[in-house]
Amino acid sequence: MIQFDRVSKRYPNGKDALSKVSFTLPAGQLTFLTGHSGAGKSTLLKLIMMIERPTQGQLFMDGQNLNGFGNRHIPLLRRKIGMVHQNHQLLFDRSVFDNVALPLIIAGYARADIGKRVRAALDKVGLLDKERLNPIMLSGGEQQRVGIARAVVNKPPLLLADEPTGNLDPALSEEIMDLFHDFARVGVAVLIATHDLSLIARYNHRLLTLREGRLIHDGDEGGTHGG
């Protein structure tokens, strides 16, 4: 699904955020991405979202080289990526339904279709009865689930999550993780960037560890990082 081939990113201020990072995310796999703050997690996500472009190396998505994408193709690329944020990035000037419908409206789905798909996504995260509410009335865990519903509503092949359990207690974190597992099971490539070592420890998934922009570990959770 995603392939990094010796990707480096140097910001204009001279800071090397990523150095020669190579890895592949296959479809249907759940992968953790960890590292200290400043290790390059955000940069890596930004490169996939094409918010930033690599300074060196190749980045492939679905076999297509992203370096060859013009700026006007970026929106189309992003429609293939579901993004879950730590702070949910929900809009509080509209209902839960309208928040989740936004990617479909943007992608140009027919009205009738939108209703069906939004309800399917809300049903998936267990919030079907809250569609008329404003997200500000929901709890943190519910807001996060609305964010997930929005990320998956147009069935993207890739799901990125940036600290998705950052503000949640362990029980709620587990619910969220269960959702991610479900998506991976139906073939979605899921990449979860997190600091939460206990969360990583609880599941035996592939783990990518970044340190100072280098990929120092790629494999099972066992025997990694020192904190």
Partner: protein
């Protein structure tokens, strides 16, 4: 202004590829929706954007009203002056018809010779007709009109020269001046008097007025654009979160831009309509005194208001200015807002 319109602003520097890279065609295969669906949805989004723009104007009624009023006042000023100038031009058009040249002949010119000259000049370019006034006629007219009849009786001889009145077919100052020179060179002509200096001055004044209004229109149109730029900029700032989310879930620049362009157009259009109302109210207010003034100047005209075409053109023009302002604001500030995490 023009400098801000360039494609420079279309792409945020941040997104530009650092080096030239092979281009690849992507697009159709990434879309899950049919072309028809996308067209319907595109139309729907235009409708939604327009409704959204109106709702937002309505939601912030006080500040919207102020913006609209600023635009209206800026446009009403040149529009109102243009109407007054139109009226001035209409009135002086009637006066132009009276422009003529009085050609005084040598005292000894005989009456048949006078007729001959008048007939000859009639063939000249730019002369519509000529009229002769013989020395006797002139004397009779002068006696009747001046009240100096008795004095003239006392004179041994008729002191008035024979006269040919030349009516030109044009009131163009250059043509008149040329005609005046040509007639002055003719045999038997003593003096040519062009009695249209004041008409010329009036024409110059009207022309000056036109230029001033043009300059004023340009300056105030720029002001309208700037007002809209600023208003839209604030709107963009207040919807920053929404823009970020829309960009993350794959909204195109056009999708993000659309509601703001509609807002700009609505501001402009509403401002234009308000300007029309302001001008009409002002004309109604000035109508009485101006009609009175016109009567004093022996004019049958009364104050004419804006032409129907201007009534429509002003809001449309203003709407376009609003659209332009929104475009500039969006081009300048939308690129600054990029997702970050």
């Amino acid at each position: 202004m023009a400098a801000n319109k360039g494609p420079r602003n279309a792409t945020p520097i941040k997104q530009r590829p650092k080096t030239e890279r092979p281009r690849r065609v992507v697009g159709a295969q990434t879309a899950h929706t049919s072309l028809k669906d996308r067209f319907i949805s595109w139309r729907q989004h235009h409708r939604d954007s327009f409704r959204d723009a109106l709702q937002r104007l309505n939601a912030a009624r006080a500040s919207s009203a102020m913006t609209i009023l600023v635009i209206a006042i800026a446009l009403a000023l040149p529009a109102g002056l243009a109407v007054l100038l139109d009226n001035a031009r209409a009135i002086t058009r009637g006066w132009d018809g009276n422009a003529h040249l009085s050609v005084f002949l040598d005292m000894e010119t005989s009456e048949p010779r006078q007729r001959e000259l008048a007939a000859q000049w009639q063939q000249f370019e730019h002369i519509e007709r000529t009229e002769i006034i013989t020395r006797q006629q002139a004397l009779a007219e002068f006696k009747a009109l001046s009240g100096f009849g008795d004095v003239l009786e006392a004179l041994p001889d008729n002191p008035l020269p024979p006269l040919i009145v030349v009516f030109p077919d044009s009131t163009d100052p250059v043509t008149l001046r040329a005609l005046e020179n040509r007639l002055a060179e003719q045999d038997g002509v003593d003096l040519v008097q062009l009695d249209v200096e004041w008409v010329r001055r009036l024409h110059s004044l009207i022309e000056l007025g036109e230029r001033l209004i043009s300059a004023l229109t340009l300056a105030l149109a720029a002001a309208v654009i700037l007002v809209v730029v600023n208003t839209i900029r604030l709107g963009i700032e207040s919807r920053r979160e929404e823009i970020v989310v829309v960009k993350i879930v794959g909204g195109t620049d056009g999708f993000v831009r659309r509601p703001f362009l509609y807002t700009g157009f609505c501001f402009g259009f509403a401002g234009g309509i308000t300007a029309v109302i302001l001008v009409q109210v002002a004309l109604w207010w000035l109508g009485g005194p101006i009609d009175e003034l016109l009567t004093l100047y022996n004019s049958d005209d009364s104050l004419t208001s804006m032409a129907l075409s201007s009534l429509i053109a002003l809001p449309v023009f203003s709407g376009i200015l609003g659209l332009l302002g929104a475009w500039l604001a969006v081009g300048r500030h939308l690129g600054d807002i990029e997702p970050n995490f």
